[in-house]
């Protein structure tokens, strides 16, 4: 059987690293998308974030490797080949996804929700709270997409994580490693497991009631 304790460890580590990266990225992405929705930035700003959604992970991995390696500007932090470096890298990677998806949704609904709140006599704070509450479906969608992207990326995990056994090995790096040594079946099982975890977590987040479709 391929589902041994090592695979389970890898799966849990993947969820931990991708989940932490998603939480970290949400900390700055959600306020940024709300600010953008309220201030209506130039379309070029929107275009930049949309273009960055397709940022090649190897390019970002390379930049982070340059920053974190022992002779790099942030080498003194000794983060290279640690889960922390992977979390930082993935958080940066998924930031454009979180911002552009949640911004698009917030922009669409915030105007009408804000108008409704004003017409009902809401204060400024009540209006903001209502906008956040009513657009949470879009936020969750962006979080799920960001999490999935973080789980499925390989370039950063490999370049700043190093695929160290029992330390930084995650599903994608493990699959690449298995394929490189000819263990295709194990790689395939890991791939299917990765897909299953992504789907289950997306369903779990949706059904937690953090979100709901807007009526």
């Amino acid at each position: 059987m391929y589902l041994d304790s090592e695979v389970i460890d890898i799966a849990l580590r993947t969820i931990y690293i991708s989940g932490s990266a998603t939480l970290l990225a949400s900390l700055w992405s959600i306020p940024i998308s709300y600010t953008m929705a309220m201030r209506k930035p130039r379309s070029s700003v929107e275009a930049i974030f949309e273009a960055l959604v397709g940022l090649p992970t190897v390019l970002l991995g390379l930049l982070l490797y340059y920053l974190f390696n022992s002779s790099g500007p942030l080498g003194f932090l000794q983060l290279l080949y640690t889960p922390t470096a992977m979390i930082i890298g993935e958080a940066i990677l998924i930031t454009p996804i979180l911002i552009s998806v949640s911004y698009r949704y917030t922009k669409t609904y915030s105007k009408q929700i804000s108008e409704l709140a004003i017409s009902l006599g809401a204060t400024r704070i009540q209006t903001q709270v209502l906008i956040i509450r009513e657009t949470s479906a879009g936020l969750t969608a962006s979080i799920i997409m960001g999490f999935s992207r973080a789980m499925g990326e390989l370039g950063i995990a490999l370049m700043v994580g190093g695929n160290l056994k029992d330390y930084t090995r995650v599903m994608t790096t493990a699959i690449a490693f298995d394929v490189s040594r000819g263990e295709f079946e194990r790689g395939l099982v890991l791939g299917l497991l990765l897909l299953l975890i992504m789907i289950l977590i997306a369903i779990a987040i949706k059904s937690l009631g953090v979100v709901g479709a807007r009526g």
């Binding site: 009408q112 929700i113 108008e115 409704l116 004003i118 017409s119 009902l120 006599g121 809401a122 204060t123 400024r124 009540q126 209502l130 509450r133 009513e134 479906a137 709901g212 479709a213 807007r214 009526g215």
Partner: protein
Amino acid sequence: MGDGLRIYLRDIWFKYDAKGEWALRGITIYFNSGEATIIKGHNGSGKTTLMKISSLIYRPTSGSVIINDHDFWNLSDRDKISFRRRVAFVHDKPIMLRGSVRRNIEYSLLIRGIEEEEVRKRCDEVIEELGLKTIENRSSNRLSAGQAQLVAIARALVTEPEIIFLDEPFAYLDNEKRKILVRALRGRREEGVGIVIVSHEPEIALQIGIDRVITMENGEISNISFLR
């Protein structure tokens, strides 16, 4: 009703963006509590914009909105909210909040800090009046357009506004629901509430007991007829 409410728009000009065309051109008009008005006109004539400025949502590009002798847009935030809570506006396309029908109706009272028991009592009354009892616990995203329209109207009526602005309130309603709404609005009209309706079907709105018909064209008022 207190001393009643008078919203006086003086030489209102409005455009949606700086480079755009004027949506309203020098409108001067008043709306009082206790009066019922229909606004009619072709699409794009400025009816909805006029309603949103009158109901204190949009700030005019130029001109003044005088409410009971106060220049509304120069008031403090607290005073603005206090006046806004005396009027209500219902959008032509109903905007539903997440949650149940009851939650939608309660919301406008809860933000006013009204006690729970009073909220329940007032919601029960308006739910009964508009025939929403059977759907009060239904999720707002499972409503037909007509039901959503009535919920949006209930959400406005429950606040007991002194003037209510309704943009195309009959658009999605079948005959039975139209009768219910006409009866509710006629009742408010008799109690001294001001009613302002944008409608492409003035014959239905006339059943409420209309005092004035305002006709708009290209962002201007082209005619005002007094029926009483």
